[in-house]
Symmetry: C2
Subunit: 215 residues, 2 copies
């Protein structure tokens, strides 16, 4: 059995996915063109339509690939045998690490929020919901044990994740501000960011008689 001539190039499909993720992250769904994706992947445009039915399907495939593994890591923390406060520390740490591990996750995530999640189907929405549910459960258990004060569950959740998202998302703007207007909004490395958010979480949730003194 001789190998077929014109055998598939190694990883054509994955090269398309990688190139498309880069383009969608950089320009958003509407402003990204299939031509640019093809050029960046060094693939013929028709190949993209061979592997994916259309631009939208390619996009949602990328969103799913980006969200699933991170949601899995995040929800797994709930099962760890640790007190609520430590689980939140781990949550913050994992969230920051996930964002910093990928150049495309955060832009895709943020754009999807800006779009009101219009490109998210039922499955993707469920992923988001899982994370919220897990964090909410951790906080609720801490509150029951009186190691946390009662807080608005949604507001507590966004207080934990939003600063990380916005801080990392504005990195390029801050850089332009520094070079173009000589305004310094200092950056922070992962460790500093994680410790800051853990401090905020601890203080936000400390019971009134013992604020910030949680372990």
């Amino acid at each position: 059995m001789s190998p077929r001539r014109r055998s598939p190039l190694p990883g054509t499909r994955s090269r398309i996915l990688a190139a498309a993720a880069g383009e969608f992250a950089a320009h958003g769904f509407a402003a990204t063109t299939v031509d640019r994706i093809a050029r960046r992947a060094r693939v013929n445009k028709a190949m993209i339509y061979y592997h994916f039915p259309n631009k939208r399907a390619l996009y949602t495939a990328i969103v799913r690939d980006h969200f699933s593994p991170i949601v899995e890591k995040l929800t797994a923390i709930r099962a760890e045998p640790a007190p609520a406060a430590q689980q939140l520390d781990r949550f913050v740490e994992t969230f920051v690490a996930s964002i910093d591990a990928s150049r495309t996750f955060l832009p895709l995530f943020l754009r999807e929020i800006a779009e009101g999640g219009v490109h998210l189907g039922g499955e993707e929405l469920a992923l988001v919901a899982e994370v919220f549910g897990a964090v909410r459960a951790v906080i609720a258990s801490g509150t029951e044990q009186r190691t946390f004060q009662p807080v608005h569950p949604s507001l507590a959740h966004f207080t934990l994740i939003a600063p990380v998202i916005m801080f990392r998302a504005t990195a390029s703007i801050r850089r332009r501000l520094k070079t173009a207007r000589n305004v310094d909004i200092p950056d922070a490395d992962s460790g500093t960011l994680v410790r800051h958010m853990q401090m905020v979480a601890r203080r936000m949730l400390a019971p009134p008689h013992n604020e910030g003194r949680i372990l």
Copy 2:
């Protein structure tokens, strides 16, 4: 002097601006079409190019109109004769009120961040910088007087504003989550949101020996 026939329709230009703001907020710069703006403003497409040189210029005009008044309100707080802690309370209150007062400001703001500020010129960048500078100064003065603990200035800043932005920006996603997946991520009214963020600010900045006990 008889009035000219074919006198200008009242507020053609402002109707264009309003319609364009709605379209840009809802769809982003790239996905917004001039045809749709014209239809929404009940104006002929050519009129848009009579009043504005091109789509981009129309967009930046809207961004400036949206950002300037809010930046002004925010930076004015610094001049009020109140201790740092109260100035931050006012800052939070004003920021939430500004977001809730306009249906278009937040989407425009968030999209601009997602885009890395590519549509922002020197002037607009300077506006953003002013707000950061004002908040940073308030925090620094509180730290000098030992009513605040030392914190990373950028991280403190984003801890104050990011949760508000993300919480309000995700309202539509949360609504879809509720109806489509029956997952309840409860909303919060302005008062609750303001009080939560003021609480977070107070606790984040309280000195170690007196956490959260600041006035």
